[in-house]
Symmetry: C2
Subunit: 314 residues, 2 copies
Amino acid sequence: MADVAARAGVSLSTASLAFSGNKPVSPATRERVLAAAASLGYAGPNPLASNLRRGRSGVVGIAVGRLSTAFRDPAALPMVDAVSDVLDAAGFGLLLMGDDAEHARLPLDAVIYDICGRETWTSYDDLVARDVPMVVVEGPAWPGTTLIDIDHRGGARALARHLHDLGHRRVATLMLEPSHPQREREAGLREVFPDAEVVGSCASDHDAAQAIVSDYLAAEPDVTAIVCQSDVQAAAVVVEARRRGLDVPGDLSVGGFDGITTPWLDLELTTVEQPLADKGRATAEAVLARIAGEPAHDVVLPVVLRVGGSTGPA
Amino acid sequence: MADVAARAGVSLSTASLAFSGNKPVSPATRERVLAAAASLGYAGPNPLASNLRRGRSGVVGIAVGRLSTAFRDPAALPMVDAVSDVLDAAGFGLLLMGDDAEHARLPLDAVIYDICGRETWTSYDDLVARDVPMVVVEGPAWPGTTLIDIDHRGGARALARHLHDLGHRRVATLMLEPSHPQREREAGLREVFPDAEVVGSCASDHDAAQAIVSDYLAAEPDVTAIVCQSDVQAAAVVVEARRRGLDVPGDLSVGGFDGITTPWLDLELTTVEQPLADKGRATAEAVLARIAGEPAHDVVLPVVLRVGGSTGPA
DNA sequence: TTGTATGCGTTATCAA
DNA sequence: TTGATAACGCATACAA
């Protein structure tokens, strides 16, 4: 930049201003600086130096674990997309993080924990030590973090009531791995069906869910409905039930969670629809606030029951 | 770090070495430095300063466009996962890039273009100007980039021959949007079926594919097989064919591309399996080589035909 | 194995 | 609107 400034006949600081626009520069000077840059093949301020001086990298980490696990469930995508949109607009980029502490050496302005069923993250302590702002999606909230959550319990309760209204009394549930969302949803379910049987628990993965529910249905259980904790699980239950000759919802009602579309099924799932994009936007806004040093309040977003064709009278 | 060094009674450079391990430091000194750091709450070298000094950020961009588009097709995930694994092990992180030029201000050591059907990226010129190494996945290769590709044409040809061997003569193809992979695959198909009819073209998305093929089948075309350019498309064709009362593969054979699993179908697709993880690893290795200033050679990976239950005698 | 000295390329402060 | 100057926090060449 010094060369560019010299070539343009201005000082280094003026050249810097011409690029950053942080203070007014006369159009003529700016023009000369840009021309000098072009003729010297200078592509603009070096991001590394700029980062050091400004104390900011423009990089926000998002901890999702393994991609093929995190994004196997389509419900994860719209949320991350929304985060990305908001951060992009503010000039920040999203860096994918696994859960190893090596990331401590990366220049992160903030970190998002998109919990995905995890309970702990080994990088937490490191980030606290470095004063890196953290935003946690779907809890649990740790000290110093901002929490963006949805109303798991209320959603689960609404779905349970819907089934109860349809006359169901013997209900089972296919759970996610132990986590804050799972515990909250189970609590909501048990407000209506205290004795709901547990089918099993697995990630939000078609194969895993189908295998578990296959074993369960083979034992010819005495239930009229299965409540799942994700639509991917619910779709797997529908597929498996049919494979066993059961009619859905005639013989078995199936409930989901998330509100994604399942185009490969010929019915729409009854599900608890969560505002995925809103969740992402709220997350990104909390991140930006924390980076700016402003306080960020926790958020709990509402969900709505969407009745489809996978549930019917008991 | 100066404070830590003072506290430990060593020089700044020794403290630096104690943290980086780039030169030998006596265990005793190192111990004292680390203890001093702990007692002062110093979490290790500031990444921003370290980055400037070393001329490297540890951040590698990956341009995939919109996440919910790029990762809607499960085939994209294992590849990115493999990239992430290799880069992680080398201390690099993956930053998701859309296609806007704002990313020019981010500290990127290299950029991966995971083409996903795109032909152009607006950030290319900027990155060239900044001398940022670029690796392009599935072409076309631009000047200065390293190309990691698969044998699209050979795979498509093998699938076409398989159908020809089964007696098929009237074959149609459902294409991806215009792109290097699509053109190569079409060329492979036409080596065997020069007159293959075009069903249409769309992204690798279930809904889009099903809509297109629905219109096509409604016209009761005179074909015995449909070759798709992704397994997601192929699954959609199977679903739609059955919805119309056609037996697969009795009335219609369907071929795919990618080699993913489709657990919600009760048959395995006949498909061209590509080495997704190998592709990711090769990509990451090319990135690391280019960052290290070493030459990186282009790569073309082989594919294999995997015969499943979606194709049968004409 | 440790210490001294220098500069990485900016941006911000302040004065002109 | 512009210019002089001082950090930003570290890693390395070199000398000891």
